[in-house]
């Protein structure tokens, strides 16, 4: 016999498959790390909103973060635990995102001339570039508020850049910085709109139409709450509702 059909020869059957080497496993990692982020942003958002209670409440919170658990934990202990978890989650999340992105690109090397996206929400297609935006944002954000503590307007009189509250108010009095933040928060909202539902699906929690709808609704609500909750502080600073003296 000569020649075997191409459909029978091209690809082989996988032997000794491992669940942990699958795309789905990558997705599970992504969902778990994403869930860590969600927990963190909720906490962080709560912290930020304390700006409405004024300078002392806000700084007390910042201090509280660092003194939590002392003396059992050293000063800043909890913060470092959080930071470690976040760093690990970030590495995992970004690694998995990059791996999946690469796979998806290889899965279709010739593009359609015309493609409609029936059935997809826009946010779902924004995940990857949205993620890149968020990564850039986080880098800048950390430089600005934690690592370098940049004072974009050179610092206003009487402000100490090591005082989180002043740093915050000074920053968002700069209109373009506020705009950058608002754009970033919109991205975050979109990321969460799809991401939260997607994580529940990835974790296999949406096995029926009812749970799927619930997950989608929850995702939308949380996305709006988180993006809105974060945005409100910069906006209120920009419009001088929150001021250095309040």
């Amino acid at each position: 016999m000569t020649g075997v059909a191409i459909q029978n020869s091209g690809t082989t059957l996988v032997k000794g498959a491992r669940a942990t080497q699958s795309t789905i496993f990558l997705k599970i990692l992504m969902a778990v790390s994403g869930a860590v982020f969600i927990g963190f942003v909720l906490l962080h958002m709560y912290g930020n909103l304390r700006a409405f209670w004024g300078h002392d409440a806000y700084d007390a919170y910042a201090r509280g973060l660092r003194t939590f658990g002392t003396p059992d934990l050293p000063f800043g202990g909890l913060l470092w635990i959080i930071r470690t978890v976040l760093i690990v989650a970030l590495v995992v999340h970004v690694y998995a995102a990059a791996a999946l992105w690469k796979r998806a690109k290889r899965a279709r090397t010739i593009q359609y001339q015309v493609k409609k996206h029936t059935g997809a929400i826009f946010a779902s297609r924004l995940m990857r570039w949205g993620g890149v935006t968020l990564l850039l944002f986080i880098i800048w954000h950390l430089l600005e508020f934690t690592i370098v503590k940049v004072q974009v307007n050179g610092g206003s009189p009487g402000s100490d850049r090591h005082d989180p509250y002043y740093l915050l108010v000074d920053s968002f009095n700069t209109w373009w910085l506020t705009v950058i933040y608002l754009v970033a928060m919109a991205m975050l909202g979109a990321h969460l709109h799809h991401g939260i539902w997607s994580a529940t699906q990835t974790l296999g929690l949406t096995g029926s139409e009812r749970t799927r709808k619930l997950a989608k609704r929850t995702a939308f609500t949380l996305a709006v709450v988180i993006a809105g909750g974060f945005s409100i502080v910069p906006i209120f600073v920009l419009f001088h509702v929150i001021t250095k003296t309040s």
Binding site: M1, T2, G3, V4, A5, I6, Q7, N8, L13
Partner: protein, 684 residues
Amino acid sequence: MTDMPDTTLTSHPSHDSPLEVDTDDAVDYYTPGAPIGDTKAPDGPINERWQTRKFEARLVNPANRRKLSVIIVGTGLAGASAAATLGEAGYVVKSFCYQDSPRRAHSIAAQGGINAAKNYKEDGDSVHRLFYDTVKGGDYRSRESNVYRLAEVSTSIIDQCVAQGVPFAREYGGLLDNRSFGGVQVSRTFYARGQTGQQLLIGAYQALERQVAAGTVETFTRHEMLEVIVVDDGDTSRARGIIARDMVTGEIETHLADVVVLASGGYGNVFYLSTNAMGCNVTAAWRAHRKGAYMANPCYTQIHPTCIPVSGAHQSKLTLMSESLRNDGRMWVPRTKADCEKDPRSIAEEDRDYFLERIYPSFGNLVPRDIASRAAKNMCDEGRGVGPEVDGVRRGVYLDFADAIARLGKDGVEEKYDNLLDMYERITGENPYEVPMRIYPAVHYVMGGLWVDYDLQSSIPGLFVTGEANFSDHGANRLGASALMQGLADGYFVLPHTIRDYLADGPFEKVDEDHPAVLEARSAVEKRIEHFLTVNGTRSVDSYHRELGHIMWEYCGMERTEDGLKKAIDLIRTLRDDFNRNLKVLGTADSLNQSLEKAGRVADFIELGELMCIDALNRRESCGGHFRAESQTEDGEALRHDDQYAYVAAWEFAGGEAGTMGKPVLHKEHLVYTAIEMKQRSYK
């Protein structure tokens, strides 16, 4: 549909009375041959025959099975189930299909269900009753031993499929549901909503793929079998392989084996328009026929009354709608031709002719398929058809749900039939809840096929035939839900036993690829392909196919007459000449070329069409799906002639001058019934 009472007993008991034919319309068209018998079926009480045969069939030692190879053409229910089972048993199996995956064989399209004598309803069903219904449904033109065996293994099929995960419909208690279907009074039909065939096939396909992974079966998709290799090894000619074309690369491949199985399905597409898939063909069977396998009862075709009518000349296939629709829908046409163009809703009650209720008052809309079909055709031939005019005739009758909607409410109708009615709306663009549906009969199934003995072996040793491709179990008409049963019975439970008796003599002497028989088969294929590509005429393959279909439908369809059939034979012969001279196939042989594939299929259909007409001409009686206008009662009912035609017509290919069929040789297999008495049916 409801069961029909047996009214009259034939005056001729079937036992061995010699068959004397008074007039033979086909006398000029064939050569009489020696009678043929089925040598494999054991004698004895009918309910012990299969056990006896299974016991007597020789065994093949497991270590030897690895040395024995089997080619199976076809991956429908019949082919996939056989490939999986023989693979499990340890034979080396090669499985072929023309689609891109074994899962797409046309068994997938079966809607209604599968019969089995489980008697879960405790409504009086039994193996014997299923046997009885099947023989009677086939109008006493099937072989009783085969049918009994079919009924006997039917119960194992359900067990097997359930274990494979086939999601049959279930009752609230978690047990399997059954319905009554296709002309019987017991509920023995197992179903998976409207797609039983798909679910059963996926089960068989999965079992097949499991064997592919296990290394016992190799699949060859997009491969079309174009020739059987028959090798004379000194004392016997045996089927030893096939020539197949890789439809993607165009390569002509030789595949050799110890035994060849054809499970290539039915040839209803000879009518061009049918409920079959576009690719369904007779090529595998016809090529075997040309190499010596007898073709049995080719004219037996089943026509299904409830199909969506033709909407225009562009039509490529017809879609079946489950006949359950006739339980609640009423068929009618306008009383006068003048009303045929009107909006049906504007036609007053008294101007409507509920023709089935009028002609068959006791069975009304529930008369059997062939009767309903013929009545509908007669209405349209009279000029009272409805719907668009195609080639000057309106081919359609109404199937009206207005009464059912009034009785059950729209919701009630929706609950029972929504998927069917939705499908209708999608295809026709009309809303059947508002405007009466239009339906028309269409060719659906062929009872004829390659002749096989009790072992499912054809007249070529080593060539076995299963499923719709053989003729064996349905006589002149098939009961609804019995084809799926037969395909799976053959593949899972019958063939694996009977084939081992044949293989016990193997492995047969090795055949080389340059054996003269192989080379001859190969070069025949190559020449044919070369021919199609070089005729360079003006007409497309499809245009020939369409014309052939017209001839067959007109003269060898629901109603056949001597004159019509003779005319059809002339027309077909003219068509064949034209086809040979004026065909136009573009493209090359060494790549995917769909016109080229079709050319080969249509060439074979043309020859088959002629044989079907000759067979129909020879059988001057009406039985099952075959209605000869010359043989009817005073009320226009089918009239059988058991004294003359209680035989299987097994046709041997005679060859002729290049491209013609010559005069086929007719071998008669006398049908003898020991376990059942022959009766005439009546539906008035």
